[in-house]
Symmetry: C3
Subunit: 266 residues, 3 copies
């Protein structure tokens, strides 16, 4: 949990402040090494764990009902990712979300591919009613969530109506808590050619929530870290294989000055 009195708790930053705040969050991640418990799909687990390690976090990933409550209660943040949506994983999610609520632990929902599965979309809606701090998703997934609410609800409306921050990934990432908005134009097309890149973004949001109490800033910080690391990685990559390796190296090497230099936020 972020300590009271963090220098980062300034009200209403302008978008121009976000790169500096992202650098401050990165410094805190490396200093504190927060524990991030991830319920995530088996495709994404290894990459997600390495992304979290690269920014200084300690990931854990159990889904056993006998122990997930304890893991979450002793974690600093929680990721709930709906990919590979098996029965034990769903049971684990319910226990984990309850443990997070009971212990004041922030959590992020990544409703992977709900546009392909009504059962998964229903489960996602039920989870959003339990109020994750952030929902990170892509356009097709957002359309599935917001479309059902009766017409094309906007991202800010949906965020305000559900009391969470929406982080919408795309060529430009959009982040909104209903009042504040940021558009992050960082990133690289190769990010869409590597599996679990979005899942890793959600994990980084969970990580930032462990050190930054302002949810909007935490979400923006995480997507800035990933987008800028992606641009740097693309500079040396020969294709999506070497890109997936290089983005972990780039996250590990990132610093505040690089974030400020590369950020394209409006």
């Amino acid at each position: 949990m972020p300590a009271e009195g963090d220098e980062m708790h300034e009200p209403n930053p302008s978008p121009g402040d976000l790169p500096r705040l992202a650098g401050a969050a990165l410094t805190l991640l490396r200093e504190r090494g927060p524990r991030v418990h991830c319920i995530t799909n088996t495709v994404a687990q290894n990459f997600t764990a390495n992304v979290l390690h690269a920014v200084g976090c300690v990931p854990s990933m159990t889904i056993s009902p006998d122990e997930i409550g304890q893991f979450v209660a002793s974690a600093d943040a929680l990721l709930v990712n709906l990919g590979t949506f098996d029965a034990e994983r769903r049971a684990a999610i319910e226990i984990a979300v309850q443990a997070a609520a009971g212990n004041g632990i922030s959590w992020v929902l990544d409703p992977v591919l709900i546009n392909r599965s009504p059962a998964r979309a229903d489960f996602a809606r039920k989870l959003i009613a339990a109020v994750p701090k952030v929902v990170r998703l892509n356009t097709a997934e957002f359309a599935e969530l917001a479309g059902r609410a009766g017409g094309a609800e906007t991202v800010p409306d949906y965020a305000r109506g559900n009391g969470c921050v929406i982080a919408l990934s795309g060529a430009t990432d959009l982040i909104s808590d209903g009042e504040r908005h940021a558009a992050i134009a960082n990133g690289h097309p190769l990010m869409a050619k590597v599996t679990a890149m979005g899942c890793a973004g959600s994990a980084l949001i969970a990580a930032c929530l462990a050190v930054e109490a302002d949810v909007f800033r935490a979400a923006a910080a995480a997507l800035l870290l990933l987008g800028i690391a992606g641009e740097i990685a693309a500079g040396s990559a020969k294709g999506p294989g070497s890109f997936a390796v290089a983005i972990i190296d780039a996250l590990y090497a990132l610093d505040g000055a690089t974030l400020i230099k590369h950020a394209r936020v409006s």
Copy 2:
């Protein structure tokens, strides 16, 4: 599903045509971005997803009984891989194969390590009776399948008898539908030093089935893509770790002229 009138639907190509047809299939993969649903073992999932992304496909990997039917029904091809053979995965396979049959979706069977497990071999035989378009496997796995049928059944006999294409991986890959045969001498010994390389080959066959209606050509195209990418990757790799990265880069960079230049098909 391949559109009617694809330029690729020429009858009975000579082996010399296969490299050109593989290039045409690769172009279609990149243009159409087919969805390939993969039921595959947890060891192979990440690498398989990245291999599919590298050739332009959209992979999905859920095994939840509540949603796999919908995922398969909205996919363009299906892979059924028997590694990490747990109970939920078997239930998922039965639903998926039924959904594939009901929606005219081609599927590939990869009977991983059936030579080590009678239970798995029995399950594979039951699945072959449901007529996958292609069975991709290695020599020990084929011996387990074909040996039981009473003596050393040949690859063409087994393919003819079971109404499917057999793609037998090895130093030289053999592909047969019982009438047509191809031997692909591409590939590199490092491919046997990286886990899930065979699984990735099966996933590429599923991908090619989504754009090439001639099953024999689709299987040959996929193994040509992988074998030639392996040769290119070996040129820059320092060992199996960097090879696994480089083969994804090589698949991403492949083009028709490179396929024709490198192919060793007879």
Copy 3:
């Protein structure tokens, strides 16, 4: 299983002999290609399989109760890793340990994160009563095991009391069977920044048990291989992403002379 009369069965080597013995074990791994069955967490599976392939082994990873007995019975060593501690995995472990005992197959326990989960710690204690040859773990995990036994039991005492070798990973690895002790100062800080590195170390211990009957030497050999490969990998890595790739290349390229040159054992 190691053949009778292996040149390696010399009694009580001095620590100075261990690098040479590690080289001999590596040679045997590549000559014999032992089968190593791994019950390991889904985060670690792919990396573990590639580490085992890099030293010449044949990994398998099923956890299906219907077949794991057969896989273990036809394996040369077994790894039991408690990460991602789900119900089916626990059932598989019980069958596997019984099959190992019944067939004289050596096994290694990796009690991942038992310090975070009482249920997992209890399960680990039950498994240690079934006498694994080696328990590999870190300091926090050892404290959880040894602390319960009434005060700060030392590593040699715990090893002697439980009839197994303890391999304690850290900046310096400590290996003890209660009588003999070795401290291995090889390795690199980047090893702690890559997920599943400890799990891979445990898998390498299982591999070495398949070719070296002296359990203490097998454990020391495995951690020497990994630590020295880590140092070599760090020489070319740009961060933890490229390090995870390079350590597999380094394991693949290791030889006896390099082990002797780099080893720091006391």
